[in-house]
Amino acid sequence: MVYARDMWPRGLLAVAASVRPTELPEVVVWPQQTAQVQQVVHLCRRHRVPLVPFGAGSGVCGGAVARGGVVMDLKRMRRVLAIDPERSTVTFEPGILGTHLEGALARHGLTLGHFPSSIMCSTAGGWLATRSAGQCSTRYGKIEDMVQEVELVAGTGEVLVLRGDEPGLPDLLQLAVGSEGTLGIITRATCAVRRAPQARCMRGWSFPWVQAACEGIRRVLQHGLRPAVVRIYDELDTLMSGQRRRALARAPAEGASEQVALEPGLERWLEVLRPDMQRARRGLQRWLVSRALARPQLLNRMAGQLVPRLAPGCMLIVGFEGEAAVAEAEERAAAQDLLAAGGHDLGPGPGEHWLAHRYDISFQMPKAYAAGAFVDTLEVAADWERLLPLYEAVREAVSAHALVMAHFSHAYPDGCSIYFTFAARRQGGLPGTGPEALEADERRYDALWQTALQAVVRAGGTISHHHGIGRLKAPFMHAEHGRGMALYRALKAVLDPDGILNPGKMGLDGPAEAL
């Protein structure tokens, strides 16, 4: 049962309903070295048995779900093989947990600079397989920007060492990275590392609306500044995550250049309500789950009307790091751009709070399920021109299915990622429901995703910024790559001619592949 699933929320619907997953592997293997991986691949190839590589199971797209066959759990291959401060590289095995890899580097005063919120429950091999992004990707890039070399056991059983700088060859490394186990199994990797930052400057900013915050960050990045952290919470996400409330509780924050101007009425109400805010928020959450999430369209409409009145504005967290003098200079320069875009400096408090709780979100999902909801996330990206239309299009499309909020993070000079959070009521497994309730939940889930991804494609975004594809987004790979899928199929035919590796994923099985 342990290996029946990853963290794909569709699978969690069945778990929450106490229904035994129907899609299970027949065998689980734990290799410890490349030669053993190679032997298993040969064996599976000889017997035409599907083989699914598995890291720590933190994926949310069903990329590691097996329908029979063998699951290869790589967590015994977890050694740091070499740290070379002179070359600024680290070489490791794929099954190492992110937090352990960072810990090993920290002992040398180094960092990979890759901090996904799942860092405690995801492996470095999984990062490479899915093109993961960390919370500091704006400064350090995504994992594909860090990797220099991978060793891969292809579906043929051949061991390949792929680099991005072989003279006279294309960058074959970037063809392996992101292939989610469909072309080969990563057994070793080397990445560039950096010196751990000497200083970190975190700061919160308030903006009247999300468009202004996006404009501010676009200016910052296009002026050549590289914050480590950029997170713009939309109005609802700002309210729900309590970001603004905490900032207000601290105001006037130490170091804040300007106090946020509150409407006099709201300020009085906050004073009255502040002692009860925590309790009220818990009550609100329970009410949301039990009643309101059953009518998401109405809830979204109400949120659209009420949130701007109750707590106008949205929150931006921005952080710089590195050599102290450079980080401080970058922060000063960024402040000019953010002020010019209409931002109000809330001081370091909100940023430091975010930093202290940066990984908490990965452990919130079970609470939502226990409360009778299901939650899921969609991370997309687009250039600045398409970004806000994409944001509106997805919210509009999803509003009939779930409560939707978003934050913008992983920003680049030419665009940004949007991270949507959906919440809807689930019924499977709740008192008084039968097996049909789970089926209804799954239908609702599938409809939500179908609608959301159609909206993404129509608005000109990419269907995934850093979660990957797996089974969830596989039907949309053709919309993403078009005729380019012929290239992916050619890669598959050469590297995995028998199609044993992670079948049913990535849209390689045809455009009509079901969710």
Binding site: Y140, V161, E180, R195, Q222, G224, T462, I469, G484, L491
Partner: protein, 380 residues
């Protein structure tokens, strides 16, 4: 008397003239070849389709084995988006012309070695050079957000369908064409990110007493900035710098570290201060001298640049110093970024360096991919 049937070559010529227009197709008999100048992706696809029907090989790199040569010089359109800082440019435009075109919008492709400016965008992507990289922007070959290409078996395609700053939707399929030297497909255009030169720009440099000290300083400047680096960072042989500055006297030393910092004034000042601290053993060079190398009048130093170059993969400062020391002629270390650098030197100096050859399985994999995508071996 029955007229002789037209040869396959004549048929191909007719067909191409019909599709591209007679003005854009010509033929030579000694050696025999046909040259066509397609004006867009559809015409590139049409030319490849004609070659396939005619059973002749085609090339966009003027390969000797090809009968049909595709001259991409008409693919020279440029579209610039000042909001997203993206430009889409045809494969046939030279990097120099492209740089001028985007500069007209107050933007830049980022630093490029002067010897790369005559290269076309298509050539720079199909056969990338390690010197075409920058500390803050990375390698030019990694920057395209989207390429348009024509593959012999699949026709025109956009890879991916829509540009995005980053994605996690499978392998980066455009990388199969970039670096393929035109053997997988023909690049028609690319969408590239641009930079807006900062309000402040400084060109600074130090003469370090030894090559070892310079290599160490370069490493510390690159990594002291969190691996992000300034816009450009180079080590230059003193003799080259002297030649570029028309014989201006230089302080004595083993190597010059030159740096281009761009951006908001506070950041530029901080980068300069950090570099100064790392080059404390050196003598600061006047800005005019640094500009003579980093920002010369058009075309001036291109002739000075050593023509050969070799990629240095994540070299330690000691390794970097050792390869530089081995050069008897002029040299430049440029294209510095977090994964490596390029050594530009005379061909005879590079001959002494052990050539990094791709491992046989990687080469075999690439050949298998070429065969799978172009089973008729139309492209060469």
């Amino acid at each position: 008397m029955t007229p002789e049937p037209p040869s396959g070559r004549a048929l191909l010529l007719d067909r191409l003239r019909g599709q591209l227009g007679p003005a854009f197709v010509d033929a030579e008999s000694d050696p025999p070849y046909i040259r066509c100048r397609p004006g867009d992706g559809a015409q590139v696809a049409a030319a490849l389709a004609a070659a396939r029907v005619g059973g002749v090989r085609a090339s966009c790199t003027f390969a000797r084995e090809a009968l049909l040569h595709l001259d991409l010089s008409r693919l020279d359109r440029v579209a610039v988006d000042g909001k997203t800082l993206l430009c889409t440019a045809g494969a046939g435009i030279s990097l120099g012309r492209l740089q001028s075109a985007v500069r007209a919008h107050g933007l830049s492709l980022g630093p490029l070695p002067p010897k790369s400016l005559p290269r076309t965008l298509g050539a720079a992507l199909a056969a990338p050079r390690p010197s075409e990289a920058s500390p803050s922007l990375g390698r030019l070959r990694d920057r395209p957000r989207q390429v348009q290409a024509v593959l012999p078996g699949q026709g025109e395609m956009d890879l991916p369908v829509r540009p995005a700053p980053r994605r996690a939707a499978g392998p980066d399929l455009k990388q199969l064409l970039i670096g393929s030297r035109g053997k997988v497909g023909i690049l028609v255009s690319a969408t590239l990110p641009l930079v807006r030169p900062g309000p402040e720009r400084r060109l600074v440099g130090w003469m370090l007493p030894t090559v070892e000290a310079a290599a160490r300083a370069l490493w510390q400047v690159l990594h002291g900035l969190g691996g992000i680096g300034p816009m450009d960072l180079q080590l230059v042989a003193p003799g080259l710098l002297r030649a570029a500055a028309s014989g201006t006297e230089l302080p004595a030393g083993g190597a010059a570290l030159l740096l281009r910092a761009e951006g908001p004034a506070a950041l530029v000042a901080a980068q300069q201060a950090l570099a100064r601290a790392r080059c404390a053993d050196g003598t600061e060079l006047p800005e005019a001298l640094c500009a003579a190398w980093l920002d010369p009048p058009e075309g001036a130093p291109a002739a000075l640049w050593p023509t050969g170059e070799r990629a240095l993969s994540a070299p330690s400062p000691g390794e970097l110093a050792a390869v530089v020391r081995a050069c008897r002629g002029p040299w430049v270390v440029c294209g510095v970024h977090v994964h490596g650098a390029a050594l530009c030197a005379a061909a005879e100096d590079l001959e002494d360096l052990p050539e990094a050859t791709p491992p046989a399985p990687a080469t075999r994999l690439y050949e298998q991919l070429c065969a799978a995508l172009d089973p008729q071996r139309l492209l060469c």
